[in-house]
């Protein structure tokens, strides 16, 4: 799956370039993110600004990244479009995964 990935300071900024993060791309998203994290990305900013829809498989992939980073690393999420934000609220994941209103705030939190 196409992910725009770059390093800003010590942070891996990953921006999935899909409108739908669903079952058809979830496995490939998991695989690509695993490779990026294995290559040293332990502080990860997931920028979801392109994503308009996340299904259960896509959500599972995001939470598995959060759980995998665990205590050793850190995840921040930004760029939530309104349907995605609604899903995060419904599943309370906005209480678990650190969600920031914009990229600057997320980067600042990961740097701190």
């Amino acid at each position: 799956m196409l992910i725009d990935a770059k390093t800003e300071g010590a942070v891996l900024v990953a921006r999935p370039l899909v409108q739908r993060l669903d079952a058809s791309v979830a496995d490939s998203f998991r695989g690509s993110m695993s490779e990026l994290m294995a290559a040293g990305g332990q502080r990860v900013l997931l920028d979801l600004e392109e994503v308009q829809f996340i299904d259960s498989s896509g959500l599972g992939a995001i939470v598995s990244i959060y759980r995998r980073l665990g205590r050793a690393g850190a995840l921040a999420i930004c760029g939530l479009t309104s349907p995605v934000l609604e899903l995060f609220r419904l599943t309370r994941l906005d209480h678990v995964c650190p969600v920031y209103p914009d990229k600057a705030a997320a980067l600042a939190a990961l740097a701190g």
Partner: protein, 402 residues
């Protein structure tokens, strides 16, 4: 290689036979086209050297018959001819000849043309073997696919058998439902059953993903969340002091226990659900919403109230808390549980059906009998979508207070 020689001249047959045998080939000779045709039809010969001009069936007609026949192998034909006119060669090629040898022929040229024929025939044989191999593989795949298809359909029947029966009555309530799986087997499941003479348990759940692994988990869950209320069921609490009088487990504790039992560290097979208990005498409902779409309470006057404020999915995160909420259904009130397949059902230009449209639909149909609601939704969604093939399971469970 076995070679058929067809020529009405005895001299040509003798010379060719001697040469070809000297070069290691088996030779069958005939003196006319009809005899050549009979030999080719009865023996697996892939190479013919035929005279063009023969009485009766000539070389051109022999070529046409060979090309029109459905032999299981290719027949390479060299026409022997005194003609070397361009238009003759074209006529020969159109009839299906592969090559030509001008009489009187030169033996080196004959040998070279036979080698060329062998190369083509070798290639043809290799391709034929590969084709046969592929056909066998194809047949095996077709067979395996058919078996998997049959197994899936058997699994779908098992799943359907676990759903409540429409006729199942429960005093004090009316219940109806709709279920349209996206693949053959589904990740959605739901049920309702009596916990005791007064209390009705109900749930609606949606396992992440589609297909067999999701369906297997949903079948497992429908076994755990069943009317088989013996010790070990998470739905009741059995105390050593009063083993015959278990108490009803509060819904959020049931969900907490499911989260503990079904935690998947890879977050692949988790599920969202609503589990609740309804006191059918008083209409008081206690329910726990876990990552599932917000249920609706629809009054008989068409007022739609969205219930719940979300909750964590089940089996995704360890050590999370769940909460129960309480409400009271007035007579004719409906409690509507559904999976995200309904609001996410995309129609023209990928526009989702949406929660608001679904709520309006429930309001408009509130005066109609409950079964009419289900029948109408079963028509409304395909007409929104343009077909009845869904990307996600569509399911709905409605409980109406009497």
């Amino acid at each position: 290689m076995k070679i058929l020689v067809a020529d009405d001249s005895n001299d040509v047959r003798v010379i060719l036979s001697k040469l070809l045998q000297k070069w290691g080939h088996d030779v069958v000779t005939v003196d006319n086209g009809e005899a050549a045709w009979q030999v080719l039809r009865s023996q697996p010969i892939s190479f013919a050297l035929s005279d063009w001009m023969m009485p009766g069936l000539d070389g051109l007609e022999l070529c046409r018959r060979i090309r029109a026949a459905d032999f299981p192998h290719y027949v390479y034909v060299i026409l022997l001819t005194a003609r070397d006119d361009k238009s003759d060669l074209i006529a020969g090629m159109e009839a299906g000849a592969d090559d030509f040898l001008t009489k009187p022929f030169n033996r080196d040229e004959l040998r070279a043309r036979i080698r060329a024929a062998e190369r083509v025939l070798d290639l043809e044989r290799t391709l034929e073997q590969r084709n046969q191999h592929l056909s066998q593989i194809n047949a095996k795949l077709e067979d395996a696919y058919q078996r998997m298809r049959n197994d899936l359909e058997a699994a779908a029947r098992v799943q359907a058998s676990l759903l409540p029966r429409h006729a199942t009555p429960h005093p004090g309530v009316r219940v109806d439902w709709l279920f349209c799986p996206a693949a053959v087997v589904a990740g959605d499941t739901f049920n309702y059953f009596a916990l005791d003479e007064r209390n009705l348990a109900f749930y609606h759940l949606d396992v992440a993903g589609h297909g067999v692994p999701s369906a297997m988990l949903s079948v497992t869950l429908s076994r755990v969340l069943s009317a088989d209320l013996k010790a070990g069921s998470p739905l009741l609490k059995f105390s050593p002091e009063a083993p015959d009088r278990p108490t009803i487990t509060p819904p959020h504790e049931v969900v907490l226990e499911l989260n503990r039992r079904f935690l998947d560290d890879d977050c692949l097979l988790y599920f969202t659900m609503v589990y609740g208990v309804m006191d059918t005498h008083s209409g008081v409902v206690t329910l726990c919403q876990a990552g599932h779409p917000n249920p609706f309470r629809v009054s008989s006057h068409g007022e739609v109230e969205t219930l719940g404020g979300g909750g964590f999915p089940v089996g995704m995160l360890p050590d999370v808390e769940y909460h129960s909420l309480e409400l009271r259904l007035a007579p004719a009130d409906r409690l509507v549980l559904y999976s995200d397949g309904i609001p996410d059902c995309s129609g023209p230009r990928d526009e989702p059906f949406g929660t608001e449209r679904f709520a309006r639909f429930l309001a408009e149909l509130s005066p109609l009998p409950l079964h009419e609601l289900v029948v109408n939704l079963q028509k409304r969604l395909p007409s929104w979508r343009g077909n009845d093939i869904y990307e996600d399971d569509i399911s709905l469970l409605v409980i109406e207070m009497q």
